[in-house]
Amino acid sequence: MKGLLLKDWYMMKSYCRVYLLITIIFLMVSCMNENKFYVFYPCLLCGMIPVNLLSYDERSGWIQYSSTLPYTKMQFVSSKYLIGLFSLLAVITVTGILQAVKMNVVDGGLAISEYVITLLLMCVITTTCLSLCMPFVFLLGVEKGRIVYFVMIGIFFAGIAIATRLPIGVLESGFTPGLLLAGSVLFGIGICALSWYLSVVFYRKREL
């Protein structure tokens, strides 16, 4: 699978520079703005990277060509999930460092629970969007799968809009940070594992 990951890395270097630029701009804006959208958006964007790579794969004929190489379909699917998770990890690391600096310099101190919960939510939301979209990509192809991804993002922002209208007590009473932490991690791992499994099943059935 190393060859597949290396090929995706080369492609990311060529095609994903714009993501890096957008990430930096949005994170810089987020340091000057309280709107969480600027923190979350680069993360959601990086969830698109595996789908975009698959789109380039489809266009270049790599999907067919790679199936003539000694890789299993499971390895092909896994490489895309790993790329998604690596990208997320990279964005979360950069976001984490910048947010820590911002909290210390601008806000006058690091609010640990808010900091951890924000980063964790970013991970879970991106993983969820990616996990919900990838099986559709492997089942229906990239273009239809991409539509599913945008629908997920729409649902996410609708969720945020609803959550911000709830009285603060409703959220705080039900979820302690510890519970939220454990629940989020379990949910993220669970949905990612299920998504990977479905993607492998769908991709094995697909004729190339």
Partner: protein, 280 residues
């Protein structure tokens, strides 16, 4: 040992049926798959590689059943498809690095030597290559991991005659080793005529014939005769006839018409066209 054995291979699509295909490619030989567009050539190659799911039949590659061992067998198979399928932003060096981590038997020095021999720049992105260069790069990859069997789907289509000749030479060189074999599909029959030991005709998903090329050329002939002479030919010797007011062009079994005139040699292309028309 046979490099490839296909028995009763069946695949059904809406409007197309690959109908119980049987063919055997002996080790050390080159087999040409000839057929019109949609005859089933690419389908056959994709089924061998498990890119499509077969509806029936068995495929044995290098002595092993492909159902159980296909990923392992792909280490020994070099493939070049009609569209090479390499990502456009990658250059020759990067492709070499990817393949080094893909094939256990990757031979980097051989790959670099082939790039030099074929004048393929290793720093230029694939998207800037001409079609001929793309195809040559695909073949260089296929030849750089100690493959024993090459599966080539239309590797010469869209190439100019000079590049086609280079490709044909490279493939001939590959089969100098006695355990190296090639299954190549093309509708440029002249290339196959130069290259192949065996010829297989596919027509509308059916096998028309599969024989040694030299035997085919010895067996069939083209007889030009008058319409009266045509009437006198033994019916079982005439495989196809094309009549016009001045006479007839007849595809015949040479042995069966020895007393009726001299049948001219028939090219593989003429033979395929006549047999395909007869099979309509």
């Amino acid at each position: 040992m046979n490099a490839l054995e296909i028995k009763d291979l069946t695949k059904c699509y809406p409007g197309f049926l690959l109908d119980h295909l049987d063919l055997t490619l002996p080790s050390g030989c080159i087999m040409g798959l000839v057929g019109e567009n949609g005859a089933g050539k690419s389908t056959t190659i994709k089924l061998v590689l498990n890119m499509l799911h077969k509806d029936g039949g068995t495929i044995t590659i290098l002595g092993r059943n492909s159902d159980d061992n296909i990923e392992l067998l792909k280490e020994d198979i070099g493939v070049v498809m009609d569209e090479v399928g390499i990502p456009e932003c990658l250059n020759g060096k990067q492709i070499g690095n990817v393949m080094k981590h893909t094939f256990k038997n990757w031979r980097e020095e051989e790959y670099s030597a082939l790039l030099r021999k074929l004048s393929i720049p290793d720093g230029k992105p694939f998207k800037d290559f001409s079609r001929g260069m793309k195809m040559k790069l695909g073949i260089a990859v296929a030849l750089s991991h100690k493959a024993k069997l090459l599966l080539l789907d239309e590797p010469t289509s869209g190439l100019d005659p000079v590049v086609r000749d280079e490709v044909v030479t490279m493939l001939s060189d590959f089969t100098r080793e006695e355990d190296h074999s090639i299954l190549i599909s093309s509708h440029i029959v002249s290339d196959l005529e130069k290259l192949c030991d065996y010829i297989t005709f596919l027509h509308k998903g059916k096998l028309l014939l599969c024989e040694e090329k030299d035997r085919l050329l010895a067996k069939y002939g083209l007889l030009h005769c008058t319409l009266e002479q045509l009437q006198g030919l033994p019916a079982d010797a005439v495989l196809y006839k094309k009549e016009n007011p001045y006479g007839a062009e007849v595809l015949v079994l040479r042995d069966a018409v020895s007393g009726y005139g001299t049948a001219a040699p028939v090219s593989i292309e003429e033979l395929f066209v006549f047999l395909a028309k007869e099979a309509v």
